[in-house]
């Protein structure tokens, strides 16, 4: 379960998030929508602790993030799969090595690293480019590599920041189908997007952010 309780975030006296309170239940799939600059990315960053809140409390799977020591942050991050908006792929590693890195960090054995990484690449339809480097791939393909890396470790929570931003409608739908499949296996998923088309047939739960304020919470 993800729980935000009166969370606020300021950058140089500008309010980015204001008094945000919501919960996403374990195994739920929710969307955060809103225009650019509404605070969607910041909200996700607070969950994997790239940013820290100025006010309020956040808990994930009953862990209060404010109580975590610096040395415990890596353990939290290993349980959260993140699809970053700018992909954050390492350009001098192959596609396979980028995905495998997430498992090496977890100390997974070499044999499992190989089979899990291949499986994750297969899921996003990129097994054939395993030996290529990210720079040689299209934006959409890079995004799918980022997704493969986020899901390879079997995360409890999956956070995706505009995961279909660079994908054509068909591929976008494939990815959402993949997220649904993961969700049906028990992964809690939170997706930040402004793609209204995507929301049409897929939304289970919608949170709307506007200028840092949660203005609407729709359960469909």
């Amino acid at each position: 379960m993800i729980a935000f309780e009166n969370v606020s975030k300021f950058y140089d006296h500008n309010t980015v998030l204001k008094n945000i309170t919501f919960t996403v239940q374990k195994g739920e799939m929710a969307f955060i929508t809103g225009p650019s600059g509404a605070g969607k990315s910041t909200l996700l960053k607070l969950m994997y602790m790239e940013e820290l809140p100025d006010e309020g409390n956040i808990s994930i799977e009953d862990i209060h993030l404010s109580s975590l020591k610096m040395s415990e942050i890596p353990l939290l991050r290993r349980n959260i799969g993140v699809v970053f908006q700018d992909f954050k792929l390492i350009n001098n590693l192959t596609v396979f090595d980028n995905v495998a890195l997430a498992l090496h960090i977890r100390g997974v054995s070499e044999r499992e690293v190989h089979s899990f990484s291949s499986e994750a690449l297969k899921k996003v339809g990129l097994r054939h480019v395993a030996d290529s480097y990210p720079k040689s791939l299209s934006g959409g393909e890079q995004q799918r590599v980022a997704i493969a890396r986020a899901i390879v470790g079997g995360p409890v929570v999956l956070l995706a920041d505009e995961p279909t931003g660079n994908l054509d409608p068909d591929t976008a739908l494939d990815i959402i189908t993949l997220f649904r499949e993961l969700n049906s296996q028990g992964t809690t998923i939170l997706i930040a997007t402004h793609n209204r088309e995507l929301l049409k047939n897929t939304v289970k739960r919608l949170l709307r952010l506007d200028s840092g304020t949660l203005t609407e919470e729709t359960v469909l």
Binding site: Y48, E50, S71, P74, L75, L76, R77, R78, V82, F84, K88, L89, I90, N92, L101, A102, H104, I105, R106, G107, S109, E110, R149
Partner: protein, 291 residues
């Protein structure tokens, strides 16, 4: 975190940034070679210094007259002392023969001598470890108190000089070793720091994926160790080149060089010294960077 992954990651990184690593390795190799050459010269000076005490002796002049029995007792009591390596009795007649031999070109000096003015003496050689200024003065004092011994002469200055020479060699060795080691540490420190900053973006990503600081730091420590190890191995190669140049080429022109001894044990230690200094350098570099 698997150690093998850290090693693979370190080797890949060394390959990617090969020029900076090659330069760094060559610098480490030159530094370690300088240490080796310094050790080589100082080792030979030390060898010479170690042989000097063998030439050091004390002269105990006996009272006159002494019976054969009394002389024998003095010699026996000297031989029993743990500091004494050997003793040699020189009778007054032997001493005169020796003096005549020494002054053979200035015989006129001895003309007019009716009787032998010299006294019997005992030459005492000390064991090497007792040829220090404090030991020699203590031993001389004790020997002087033995009944039948009139005076004792020994080269206080020589004992001091030998001691000072050995002490200086040791101090110079330590200073050279420490200074150059610091240099090696600094070279590896700078290299690893540059590598670290070049990989800043990559490290940020790895952190967001849940890497511990150990996972991030270990490959850098390994890289530092590998630079040190490679430097050490190249240092050995350089030292061999130097050794053969000195013993085979230069010694034909300067024969005395043939007597120099090369401490090969030092060469075996070189790669290990390299690894230790390399790891220390990278540990300082990554320790100063906030993860």
């Amino acid at each position: 975190m698997t150690m093998s992954y850290s090693f693979i990651s370190a080797f890949k990184s060394l390959g990617r940034e090969k020029w900076i690593n090659i330069l760094s390795t060559l610098t480490v190799a030159s530094s370690l070679l300088i240490i080796t050459l310094a050790v080589f010269f100082l080792y030979n000076i030390e060898l010479i210094a170690n042989h000097l005490p063998e030439r050091f002796s004390m002269m105990a002049y006996l009272e006159d007259p002494l019976s054969r029995e009394e002389t024998r007792n003095i010699i026996d009591s000297l031989k029993k002392r743990p500091e004494v390596a050997n003793v040699k009795y020189i009778s007054r007649d032997d001493a005169l023969i020796e003096l005549k031999h020494t002054l053979k070109d200035s015989r006129s000096l001895l003309e007019g001598l009716d009787e032998n003015p010299l006294t019997s003496s005992i030459e005492i050689k000390l064991r090497r470890e007792f040829v220090t200024p404090s030991s020699t003065s203590r031993i001389a004092e004790e020997i002087r108190k033995i009944p039948g011994i009139d005076t004792i002469y020994y080269g206080e200055r020589i004992a001091e000089a030998i001691h000072l020479l050995k002490q200086s060699v040791r101090n110079i060795s330590i200073i050279i070793f420490l200074t150059i080691s610091l240099g090696v540490v600094f070279v590896v420190y700078s290299t690893v720091k540059i590598l670290f900053y070049r990989k800043n973006e990559e490290i940020e990503i790895i952190k967001l994926l849940g890497a511990t600081s150990g996972f991030i730091r270990t490959p850098f420590l390994i890289e530092g160790g590998i630079i040190g190890l490679s430097g050490g191995i190249l240092g050995i190669v350089g030292a061999f080149v130097f050794y053969f140049a000195v013993t085979y080429r230069l010694s034909t022109v300067i024969p005395i060089l043939k007597t120099l001894v090369f401490p090969f044990e030092v060469l075996i230690a070189l790669p290990f010294v390299g690894i230790i200094l390399g790891v220390i350098g990278s540990a300082i570099a990554i320790g100063r960077i906030r993860l």
